[in-house]
């Protein structure tokens, strides 16, 4: 029997893990529920902190998975485990035997309408970070009509017990600043504001991006969470927030409000995850064995995790985890 490795998820983590596993002489099979590989990152236009085109990262990844079995529009319906390994029944009726399973199921973007006070889906000019990214890619969004004042709200669906997510989504801060700069590039005369609680510039070059955002792009960062959005007679948005540094509430009218939606656990995999015996952690993401040496392992032997299925992560972190999971799987197969 071939040493099949079942990789669930064809995003950055899945593709990179598959590439590396193939190099190590194993036979990865990618199961992707959508009709294309690439995951969320393929929907992104440019990456922080240096405005690197996302396609320059995705294209080589797609190139390197050529020759690997990829099943698109496919999900795992049922999975069983025995001494030989795993037997997965797919939605297309096929059955796959695998020695190990890599869960690279990624994340779901927080549904912005759940944060009702921001009026996403109710007010015309409230959009999400993903929709803005699409605008950058295609140049088309009927809600973006030469806005004069643009606001970004950080931590939408993160660090918020009211929506049940108490964790930090890690990448939204830097994304917000990146998108704020890009908006200034597209609309140089617009005033751009970001409403943050903390600016978590955790990576190399991120703080430089923050400096550039302030100094070169003249983006105004206001510390305070937008608490309420309404629409005025002209259809413009009236937002309320507290400027917590100034110690006073503030009110302003905006033409566009971008919600920096957090990452949430991809729940479409819940059933399979349960069958595999992989629990969730307190943030609702998958529980890995531990966050240091066992970050790719799970409570179940032969079931591995990589990427944002365990926690919000940046793309470099995801790629690093995908590479490390390949080594983990390789060692697992060889020591069996």
């Amino acid at each position: 029997m071939k040493e099949n490795i079942l990789i669930i998820g064809g995003g950055a983590a899945g593709m990179e893990a598959a590439t590396q596993l193939k190099k190590l002489g194993l036979t990865p099979i990618i199961i992707e529920k959508s009709d294309a590989l690439g995951g969320h990152i393929a929907q992104w236009d440019r990456l922080f902190p240096a405005f690197h085109p996302a396609k320059d990262v995705v294209a080589p990844m797609l190139e390197s998975v050529k020759g690997i079995d990829v099943l698109l529009n496919t999900e795992v319906n049922d999975i069983q485990c025995d001494a030989d390994g795993f037997k997965a029944v797919l939605t297309n009726g096929k059955t796959i035997d695998a020695k190990a399973v890599v869960l690279a199921t990624g994340f779901d973007l927080f549904k912005a309408e759940r944060k009702q006070e921001y009026g996403y889906g109710i007010y015309n000019n409230v959009i999400t970070s993903l929709e803005l990214e699409k605008f950058f890619r295609t140049g088309k969004d009927e809600r973006i009509n030469n806005p004069k004042k643009i606001g970004f709200v950080h931590c939408v669906g993160a660090r918020d017990v009211k929506v049940g997510n108490t964790y930090c989504s890690k990448v939204c801060c830097t994304t917000a600043l990146k998108q704020a700069c890009e908006m200034k590039e597209v609309f140089p005369n617009a005033e751009v504001y970001t409403f943050y609680m903390d600016l978590r510039m955790f990576g190399p070059g991120y703080e430089d991006l923050y400096l550039k955002t302030q100094r070169d792009f003249d983006v105004k960062c206001i510390r305070g969470r937008v608490c309420e959005v309404s629409e005025n007679m002209d259809g413009r948005l009236v937002i309320k927030a507290e400027d917590t540094l100034f110690g006073k509430p503030l009110k302003m009218t905006l033409d566009l409000l971008v919600l920096m939606c957090s990452m949430e656990k991809n729940k479409s995999i819940d059933k399979i995850q349960q069958q595999l015996g992989v629990a969730n952690n307190s943030d609702g993401f998958m529980q890995n064995r531990d966050m240091y040496l066992g970050m790719n392992g799970t409570a179940k032997d032969g079931v591995f995790v990589a990427g944002t299925c365990t926690a919000p992560k940046s793309l470099p972190d995801t790629i690093a985890e995908a590479r490390s999971v390949a080594v983990e799987v390789f060692n697992y197969i060889n020591n069996k």
């Binding site: 309408e113 009702q116 006070e117 009026g119 996403y120 889906g121 109710i122 007010y123 015309n124 309420e228 309404s230 629409e231 005025n232 007679m233 259809g235 009236v238």
Partner: protein, 356 residues
């Protein structure tokens, strides 16, 4: 504004309450300020719609005002509430409906607290027994009176004589809806439509032919705030909240305001007079104010009740322009006549806002 987005939320926030057999409790403020409203509610539900709404003469205040003014501890307020529930049990009812939003908030808060801390419920049970020798049962369903009018809005629409339409222009009246803060801001799931986009009054306006206005300060409190009003020196804060709302709704030129809280219609009504006196500004057309009505008053108007039977003369802001817009006949001479045709005497006329 994307109405479908709101409709999605409204669909999510529907609560399950029966439409009959309620134990009805009154509101301290409403029976004093808007006596016609509660009478109208009982008349509509009992006589126009044929429902069973029982009112026990021994029921009291819920203690909410004292509780929110920090003059009694929560246990005391809960014991008062427990006594109300005991009366309901004694009267053989399981469904509880209150006329007051503050009460609704207190009842909801009490039930939720007991749910989280059963030992507190046991303690209150003991307190009630010690003080009144009564035993209570928690209501099976708790509703606010506006929930029931919301539920009956289409039945009322069937009996409607004067829809919320301007008879001269044929256009729907522009209605501002103002929800009492304690209706759903504390427990969004306890109100029709949730906390951000409540549907309870919007549903009535839509059913009765009006046009809903969603203005930027829609969610803002009327300014009552208990402590802010009860201390005279603080009343400026209270008034300023109302002022903020009127400044925000003014460009929409609303014809009327519908409220579901005891304090809100009072403050939205009376502060218009004070603002006019202090700043010279009025928000209605031609020196009039914008009438702020209770939902029962609006229901009564559309169903053809006599405006003076509804107690609309109790409003500071003149109601006559609205009656004329809706084409409702009224006898100006009867405005200040009591039930027996007795002259009640005319109030003094304010200098800045038209009262007739």
């Amino acid at each position: 504004m994307i109405i479908e987005g709101k409709q999605k939320i409204w669909a999510d926030y529907q609560k399950d309450i029966p439409d009959d057999h309620y134990f009805y409790v009154r509101s301290c403020i409403r029976q004093a300020f808007w006596p016609g409203s509660e009478v109208t509610f009982l008349d509509i539900t009992r006589n126009k719609l044929g429902k069973d709404f029982y009112e026990n003469p021994y029921h009291t205040t819920c203690g909410g005002i004292a509780y929110h003014s920090d003059t009694i501890p929560q246990e005391t307020a809960m014991t008062i509430i427990a006594r109300q529930f005991a009366l309901m049990k004694e009267s053989g009812y399981e469904n509880y409906v209150c006329s007051c939003i503050t009460s609704f908030g207190c009842y909801t808060e009490t039930l939720e607290t007991w749910h989280e801390y059963p030992e507190l419920e046991a303690k209150i049970r003991q307190y009630l027994w010690d003080s009144c020798k009564k035993e209570f049962a928690k209501p099976k369903y708790l509703a606010h009176a506006s929930d029931l009018i919301y539920k009956f809005r289409f039945d009322i629409a069937k009996q409607m004589k004067f829809p919320l339409v301007n008879v001269k222009t044929g256009k729907p009246l522009k209605c501002v809806e103002h929800i009492g803060c304690h209706y759903s801001k504390m427990f969004p799931s306890k109100g029709f439509g949730g906390a951000e986009y409540p549907h309870v009054l919007v549903g009535m306006i839509e059913a009765w032919g009006g046009e809903v206005i969603d203005y930027p300060e829609r969610r803002h409190c009327c300014g009552f705030g208990f402590r802010q009003y009860f201390v005279q020196a603080n009343r400026g804060y209270s008034e300023s909240n109302t002022y903020k709302k009127f400044e925000s709704m003014e460009p929409y030129e609303p014809d009327l305001i519908i409220t579901n809280c005891p304090g809100c219609p009072y403050f939205l009504d009376r502060w218009q007079y004070v603002i006019a006196e202090q700043t010279g500004k009025t928000y209605g057309k031609n020196g009039y104010g914008i009438p702020a009505l209770t939902y029962e008053e609006v229901a009564g108007l559309v169903m053809g009740y006599d405006p003076w039977d509804l107690g609309l003369q109790m409003h500071q802001v003149a109601i006559e322009p609205l009656l004329e817009k809706m084409g409702i006949p009224y006898d100006p001479k009867k405005k200040y006549q009591g039930v027996n045709g007795k002259d009640l005497g005319q109030p003094m006329c304010p200098s800045c806002i038209k009262s007739v």
